[in-house]
Assembly symmetry: C2
Homo-oligomer: 209 residues x 2
DNA sequence: ACATGTGAAGCGCTTCACAGCG
DNA sequence: CGCTGTGAAGCGCTTCACATGT
């Protein structure tokens, strides 16, 4: 029967979701085998992961692609819209703010902040940059649940504390440093150099045993 | 005795490395307990992870911070420099190219590419943007081992194939799509929306059971 | 006295292999 | 017949708890 989703299955569900959205138009159904090969995992894992959502496949046939998309989105909590704020308007902050897929993926930018007077008041995407001092009020008023840190590393800890104090429940930290926040706030690192270093390790293993 | 590093320990080693680099100046040694609390894991895990490198701690005392940094870097293969190329000069590509920590972290940008004629020839960081058509030759000549995809999703698959054909051994894909490459090429996704969706799931769980 | 290093137990995820069902 | 859904076995990682060493 329907069991709770294991921690490690969550990123895989987002992966399947991405694969389903990249599917050629007119592909109404898909087998676990096909989805597995697109996602780069084995089919038993796909079936097991999908079984955590419920029994939405048809034996002998496969899964209805659109229905499956909806069920994954439902399980991940993406059938509502999560308000988020972005702090830091460098190239990275701009790249994030201009990301086109927010609505489609279940998110909405409700504020973007920087302390550079040359940036405050300018437009980025559909938003006007506000001073960091305005962050606490904005987070509360617009009910932001997620804060994205796109500042230089020196400012990341302070921003994390402001976000936590203002009441966000989760932080995505792009700065190459480790921030400490109260236990009730979830933090994920999205660090470029971590990713590169993991790849370097694989290459290193390949060459040096 | 010294065992091979488990897959899942690799990102944690990079995390410890980051914590060690953020240490207050003049902190010559550190205990597993202290490092664990900075990294947000438990101390037994730190000790176990560090034991994969060898026995570099002193019982009753702790670890020499600088020596430990070096040993982690050695194990990850960061005592050499890995040449990489960046494809796509949008805000994201620029953010990546301007990342200041490449040399310190063990990487070197040897080329940056885009197909927009308005961008080719312009400078980004210390590099001049080259046309994507030049990618295969540049990768070969400058021995790039890693390719970073910072293009729109529509172009990601083609770029991935070019990188693989040109001989990179690893790809870091920032585009929100899944790319397929020959099995001998390692791929990591670094997708903004995946990270947000994982956080959304945690928030969703917290509120809805 | 104190913190590391580590066998061993415990736990959760992966994979297998096939029963179940359209 | 074909593909899903799933108990059960297998595997690898985490955590414990203490022997080890300074």
């Amino acid at each position: 029967m329907k069991q709770p989703v294991p921690r490690v299955a969550v990123p895989r569900l987002t992966l399947y979701l991405q694969c389903l959205e990249d599917l050629p138009a007119g592909m109404g159904r898909i087998s676990s085998e096909d989805l597995a090969s697109r996602a780069g995992v084995n089919s038993a894992k796909v079936r097991k992961d999908l079984s955590y959502l419920g029994s939405y496949g048809v034996r002998g046939v496969g899964y209805d692609a659109e229905h499956l998309r909806f069920q994954i989105r439902r399980e991940l909590g993406l059938t509502r819209e999560w308000p988020l704020v972005i702090v830091g308007v460098g190239n990275l902050g701009r790249a994030l703010a201009n990301y086109g897929g927010f609505h489609e993926k279940g998110f909405r930018v409700v504020g973007i902040f920087d302390d550079d007077p040359n940036k405050v008041g300018t437009r980025v995407g559909e938003h006007r940059v506000e001073p960091v001092a305005a962050l606490p009020d904005v987070v509360r008023e617009r009910q932001a649940r997620i804060g994205v840190i796109a500042t230089p590393p020196e400012e990341a800890q302070l921003v994390a504390e402001m976000l936590a104090a203002a009441g966000v429940a989760a932080i995505l930290n792009f700065a190459p440093t480790v921030v400490r926040v109260p236990a009730h706030v979830a933090v994920r690192r999205a660090d470029f150099s971590t990713e590169l270093q993991v790849l370097a390790f694989h290459l290193h293993q390949g060459t040096a045993g």
